[in-house]
Amino acid sequence: MKYPLQSRRHFLRAAGTLLALPALESLGFRRFASAATPGGAGGRPKRMIFLGFGWGVTQETWFPDVKQTGSEYALPPGLAPLAAHKADFTVIQGLSNKFSNEAHWGSTFWLTGANRYAEPGQSFHNSISADQVAAAHLGGDTRFASIQLNTPDVNNSGHGPGLSLAWDTHGKPMGGFENPVVAFHRLFSDENTPLEKRQALIAQKRSVLDAVLEDAKRVQRGLNRTDTDKLDEYFQGVRDIETRLGKDEKWLSVPKAKAPLAEPKPGLAGKEEIKLMYDLIVAALQTDSTRVVTYRQPVGTLLSSIGTKVAPHDMSHYTPGERTEASQKRDATQSELLAGLFEKLKAIQEPDGTRLFDYTCIAYGSNIRTIHYLDNCPTLIAGGGAGVKLGQHLVLKDKNTPLCNLWLTLLNGIGAGVKQHGDSNGTLGELAV
């Protein structure tokens, strides 16, 4: 699994340039891709996208009729903008996180299924999110193991605690880019500082960590169990930064991929922000800068960007009239944006006709169904990445099926080979092709 990097660089050197990084269709990309784990669409490494949208949906107009299941179902108005892609996604009803009990937390436990009260005496606990399980499997060979995108509009959007959709191995929140311009530069802009300087910078960061660890050791002396556990979070934080530095060091001499899009305009919000973030997601996957992306989407600014004056939380309690209209308009706009993402993923094609969409798995949903309801979480799965059955409307027999069963199914679909995720008690046989 180390070769792709080597060979890619060698290839580039041989081609006489370090500047132009190949677009997907170029020789370079194929060489890279084909060297990765075989299996799935054309043996290409899989990609995963998780999109979380906070305050649920309008249940009456977003969910398909439960009586129409399988491939023959009518798209409800909330999903209508996705009509062109109907054969390429599946809507699932009956999934939920059984421990979730916070009516305003649409994202905190969405990908983790954790029990907030699992630690006696603590008011908060979380565990690793599905994207990070995927990143552990897919992230070894890319510059970024995963990319978390976020929005500045978190407070208004019904996401709940967290810094992004992602939670690390220890259930600690992982930060994300809330500014598309910053994300763009992180992904595609090489630093101007000379190599030695960057190496020195990494060395210096290590010395900083070394120093704080020295004091942590002092503080650790004579602590009881509980306090030792508490301080362990600090030690873990230091170790995680070290891991990141290790990865930075490995990629230090490799120039970043050439951006397949122009530097974004600053200051976009709402609908435009989501559109731009979707473009960045496509670009990140297309250039193989990372294979796992999560995005915690804005809802509040989305509403104002489509000319709705209703406050987001008010909208989530959609009483008939203005609030319901806003809620439905939000559903339709989100679906329209998602359709745009699908189109872009489909437009990136290999000469053999394989599309980026075909080896990417997209999960789209929220832990909140509607108003304050946390069961039947709205869930839409798309793309060929996990090899699951698409074009379906599934209404699960057990309407309390753990959402984690879906994550487990998808994780195994991309070849992660995990036996358990969160509170899963099996995979979704209904999704088998």
């Binding site: 630690e119 929140p173 503080v219 009881n224 306090d227 600090y234 104002s304």
Partner: protein
């Protein structure tokens, strides 16, 4: 008779355990054995040893919820029954009453179980600083403010932000601490370095005169423009509406649009331009776009920091009080929704005497830097809507403009304390005074006199011009004035007191002394100087009565003098010093960049009477009145810096003096800083070594001394010794805290900030262990302004104040509950608790009191007369007022709404939780919605009574709703009403008289709100207990468990002996062994 008797008995029986529970809470989570009957009847048929439907067996389930697993099993059972899924539809259904009782019992037991299972048994988990504490600690240490919003939010709905077990750390957060610490150090050093290298302090100021820029000029030009278009239109129309081009207009549409605008605006523009003082300033008038607000924009290159906004404004006389408020809004141009309220100020000035208001503001990278001044109003209303609505108002008092603005300006960045060197300048006044008096005497008077005499000596031959005098009249005058005033001048010069000081004569000679701050010259005729920065300064005057001065003349007056307006007095002082023992008067003054910098002193006399007094004395004695006041010297000092400088500021500022070469001084210096940052705890040698190495590495790379020092310093600010409150204790053991640890715990409890030098000193000397010293410190700390952090931090979380920001209020319906009122309503709660702390009042005055703590804005909202100004203060209210106590506060009532309608359920549940300390179980999830009521017109009470038809709802709502109904006389935003209505489109409208009567569940009845408030206020112990639990939770950093009952009891009991005085709660906790042990 018999059934009635039974009913009585039943009520008596059922009310006893309830009261019992409230007094001494149930500590074991056990479902009453008698509920097993319910179970056997409806559940075990399917869930038994053989059948085990859904893998669930209930025939042998334990009624004791003593493990997490068992409690979870019962939670699932509760959920199933609540959701109406069990028992299944086709099987036997329990009757409503039994089901209600069962659900009641089960959900209550689950509440107990959650508390029991979450009991920490006295264990306090080590914790890091929360965001508030981090910000305060940085401020106390460095004197620099950091934006804690860059750190992830702390805690969550159920736990306070002081609970260590719920405060986490991650790699991202750790990196943020490094970044924030680094930035704070940059902020600390940058201005100091600028000052050292002789840079200007980089303070800038820009004033915007609205009438000279866009504003009324734009109204004038808009008026002219539209009038021109109108005239063209008239001509074009008269000419038969043909081609528009000859009239200079592109086409018909443009022509008609011009006329449309004219018709729409002409009247309003004319009205505006006819207003008084419109050429000198601008009105804020919502009827015209761009006049409805004045924008003040800070340029992109204005560096981040603390700035001051100023506005010179006054209000039109005779307009309604509620319109006398100016709102200042921060936001961006592009997005009107992105605006947020910065401040609301009540305007005290008038058009004739405008006042200058100052609003401090922080400018940060990436944050909006545009400010808008407007008449206070809901912020989100679209401009066109606003303008149109205003134009439709009928009443002139509602419609016409109220606020007039002369100018707005910004100034900054203010330099952190300790950067601008303080200066003192003293002037011995006799030098200039004598030169001035002698000069006048010798020049104008004596010189003129001599010339006149010389001309006279020539027998008036020739022209007086040859002697420098214009004509004979002048000659006569000069002789006259010299003869009249000369003796007064001579008397002054010959008075021995003028050898060491100056005398204040009432008229002519030397009527005033003065002190001038740069850029003004020190004395007239000298050079102008580099200006001193605006800020607080002190003037000092060494002054005495002259020996013969009568008592009534011993008053010194300070004021501003200019030739045009004469002397405008500001303050006066009684002078008691004598020439043998003069006194020094100290007068604080505020220096702004525009205001006066020369202050004058004179003897206090009635303005206008001076010449008369002089003439009278002169007639009598030949000279002016004997001077009554003598001044030795004057001086100014400043800028005086109010507030504290960071405790490490001096040390850090000395960094530049560290000798080059040799690590020892640097190491020692770092050691001192680390000890300060670690709250008087030493670091390890190995750690210090590593810090020194970081510094040396940077030096090697060519960094300057200060730059290199920032590296180890930022490491200290991200080290556990700084970030964590560290109280090591061995496993399964407890120990008394050291005095230093008590000082730290106490300071973070009451200030959310580190202990100050005094507290650490008391700890170091072992004094803090003495109960009376500790009590004294608690009082001192609660009297310190830093304790406001305790008030807000505790109150916000205890009373769940965040709910107020949950919903957006319908400002179309509730116009006066705009952002300004909402902010004031929230502050009312805090200021009331603050008053309790200041005056050590009983906490039960929060249930009912004969006062409120409000400012002008809120008093206006409540309809209380005679309160003006922005400061919150105690205002008495009568017994017939619904205000006085939390139940009458707008913030509390508004929290119990969804922004549009009242929510009796939220209000009732809040009262149970916060005032009666009898929290209802959390709202169940998955209860089916009541759809059968859709399309019906019902009163609120009718609608909610439907809740009580279904057992799963009735179990809680029968307790919650009656209280909520009792508060229905308050509308959504907390204003009094007697009627309510409900409207449904297409169905109709219903109106009704509000009926607040009801009864507490198993408790006393009440006929109206006032009685409800009385019933609640009759239970101060319950409220006190709830407060004590919240305070202990906050102070110890862990939720209160059953094992804390003894502590809670003793705190409440101690406080009860002092009428629940709020400081007694704090003292009782601080003095308890639990607080002093780990």
């Amino acid at each position: 008779m018999k059934p009635l008797f039974c009913l009585f008995l039943l009520m008596a029986l059922s009310s006893v355990p309830l009261e019992g529970r409230a007094a001494a809470p149930q500590t074991e989570a056990r479902i009453d054995e008698k509920q097993r009957v319910f179970f056997e009847k409806y559940c075990t048929e399917c869930h038994n040893a053989e059948k085990q439907k859904g893998q669930l067996r209930l025939d042998n389930i334990s009624l004791r919820l003593d493990t997490v697993e068992n409690a979870e099993r019962w939670q699932k059972i509760l959920n199933q029954i609540n959701a109406g899924e069990m028992p299944p539809e086709d099987s036997k259904q329990p009757e409503a009453g039994a089901k209600t009782e069962f659900l009641d019992e089960l959900s209550r037991t689950l509440v107990v179980a959650r508390k029991a299972l979450g009991d920490q048994h006295g264990r306090i988990t080590m914790r890091r600083l929360n965001r508030r504490e981090y910000q305060n600690t940085m401020r106390e240490l460095l004197g620099v403010s950091v934006d804690p919003r860059e750190l992830p939010a702390d805690g969550s709905a159920q736990a306070f932000d002081t609970v260590g077990a719920s405060l986490f750390m991650s790699s991202d957060q750790l990196e943020q601490y490094l970044t924030l610490g680094r930035r704070a150090l940059d902020d600390f050093f940058a201005p100091r370095q600028a000052a050292l290298t002789g840079g200007t302090l980089g303070m800038r100021r820009e004033r915007y005169e609205p009438e000279t820029a866009k504003h009324p000029v734009s109204v004038q030009s808009r008026y002219d423009e539209e009038l021109k278009l109108h005239q063209k239109f008239e001509k074009w129309k008269a000419a038969g509406e043909g081609d528009t081009k000859p009239f200079g207009v592109v086409d018909k549409t443009a022509m008609e649009f011009g006329e449309y605008c004219y018709q729409k605006n002409h009247r309003w523009f004319s009205e505006y331009l006819a207003l008084p003082r419109v050429k000198e300033g601008a009105y804020l008038w919502n009827a015209i776009s761009d006049v409805d607000e004045i924008a003040l924009k800070l340029p992109k290159d204005a560096e981040p920091g603390e700035y001051t906004l100023r506005v010179r404004t006054g209000k039109v006389a005779g307009m309604p009080a509620e319109r006398g408020f100016l709102a200042v809004v921060q936001g961006s141009d592009l997005d009107r929704d992105d605006r947020s309220l910065l401040a609301t100020r009540e305007i005290g000035g008038s058009l004739e005497a405008p006042e200058v208001l100052e609003i401090p503001v922080t400018i940060a990278e990436g944050k909006p830097r545009n400010f808008y001044f407007m008449e206070r109003r809901p912020l989100l209303e679209r401009r066109a809507e606003l303008n149109n609505r205003w134009r439709e108002l009928k009443e002139e008092k509602e419609r016409n403009p109220v606020l007039w603005v002369d100018w707005v300006e910004w100034e900054g960045p203010r330099r952190p304390r300790g950067v601008v060197p303080k200066r003192v300048e003293r002037r011995e006044v006799e030098t200039w005074a004598n030169r001035d008096v002698r000069g006048l005497l010798g020049g104008y008077y004596l010189g003129g006199f001599k010339s006149a005499k010389q001309w006279m000596a020539t027998d008036k031959k020739g022209s007086p011009k040859e002697f420098g005098l214009p004509d004979e009249a002048e000659v006569k005058f000069r002789i006259h004035v010299f003869e009249t005033h000369g003796p007064s001048f001579a008397a002054y010069i010959t008075n021995p007191l003028t050898e060491t000081g100056s005398l204040l004569t009432i008229h002519t000679v030397h009527p005033r002394e003065f002190v001038s701050l740069p850029p003004e010259p020190i004395t007239p005729g000298d050079k102008r100087r580099d200006p001193v920065p605006p800020g607080d300064y002190v003037l000092r005057v060494r002054v005495a009565q002259t020996p013969k001065a009568p008592k009534e003349r011993a008053f010194l007056e300070m004021g501003i003098y200019d030739k045009e307006n004469g002397f405008s007095p500001m303050r006066s002082f009684q002078v008691t010093g004598t020439t043998a023992k003069p006194q020094i008067l100290e007068i604080p003054v505020k220096i702004t960049s525009e205001g006066p910098r020369t202050f004058s002193f004179r003897e206090k006399v009635a303005t206008g009477s001076e010449s008369e007094l002089y003439a009278e004395s002169q007639r009598r004695t030949g000279v002016g009145p004997d001077p009554a006041l003598w001044i030795d010297w004057v001086e100014w000092e400043g800028p005086m810096e109010s507030g504290r400088v960071g405790s490490a500021a001096d040390l850090l500022a000395r960094a530049v003096d560290l000798p080059e070469g040799g690590a020892a001084p640097v190491r020692e210096w770092l050691e001192t800083f680390t000890r300060m940052a670690f709250r008087d705890q030493p670091a390890d040698a190995a750690y210090l070594d590593k810090l020194v190495r970081l510094y040396e590495q940077k030096r090697k790379e060519g960094a300057s001394l200060v730059e290199a020092l920032k590296e180890p310093l930022s490491v200290v600010l991200a080290s556990p010794g700084f970030l964590y409150l560290h109280e090591p204790v061995a496993e399964a053991a407890t120990r008394p805290l050291s005095p230093r640890e008590i000082a730290v715990r106490l300071a973070y409890f009451l200030w959310s900030a580190p202990p100050d030098a005094r507290l650490l000193d008391l700890a170091a000397r072992g004094e803090l262990g003495r109960p009376e010293v500790l009590r004294g410190e608690v009082d001192r700390m609660l009297s310190d302004p830093r304790s406001y952090e305790w008030v807000t931090g505790l109150t916000r979380q205890w009373l769940d104040m965040d709910r107020l920001d949950f919903f957006q209020f319908n400002t179309k319906k509730f116009r006066t509950f705009d952002e300004s009122t909402k902010a004031a309503a929230k502050e009312e709660v805090y200021r009331t608790v603050e008053l309790l702390v200041k005056e050590n009042l009983g906490v039960h005055s929060l249930l009912k009191s004969d006062f409120v703590v409000v400012n002008g804005l809120l008093a206006n909202f409540y309809g209380l007369e005679g309160v003006t100004g922005d400061a919150f203060r105690r205002v008495p209210v009568g017994a017939d007022s619904p205000r006085g106590g939390l139940l009458g506060m707008a913030a509390v009532l508004a929290m119990g709404s969804n922004g549009d309608q009242t929510s009796p359920v939220e209000r009732g549940a809040w009262v149970l939780r916060k005032l009666l300390n009898d929290p209802p179980p959390p709202a169940p999830k998955g209860v089916p919605q009541l759809t059968r009521l859709e399309g019906k017109l019902l009163t609120t009470r009718e609608r909610l009574m439907a809740h009580q038809e279904q057992p799963q709802c009735a179990q809680c709502h029968r307790k919650i709703d009656p209280i909520g109904f009792g508060l229905e006389n308050f509308n959504t935003v907390g204003l009094w009403r007697t009627q309510d209505s409900y409207e449904k489109k297409g169905v109709g409208k219903k109106e009704w008289e509000i009926d607040p009567a009801g009864a507490l569940h198993h408790g006393p009845a009440f006929g109206n709100y006032f009685e409800l408030r009385d019933r609640i206020a009759e239970k101060p112990e319950r409220f006190a207990r709830g407060f004590a639990e919240a305070m202990i939770h906050y102070g110890l950093g862990r939720p209160v468990g059953f094992s804390d009952e003894e502590l809670v009891d003793s705190v409440v009991k101690t406080a009860a002996q002092k009428q629940f005085a709020i400081r007694e709660f704090v003292a009782a906790l601080v003095q308890s062994p639990v607080f002093q042990r780990k």
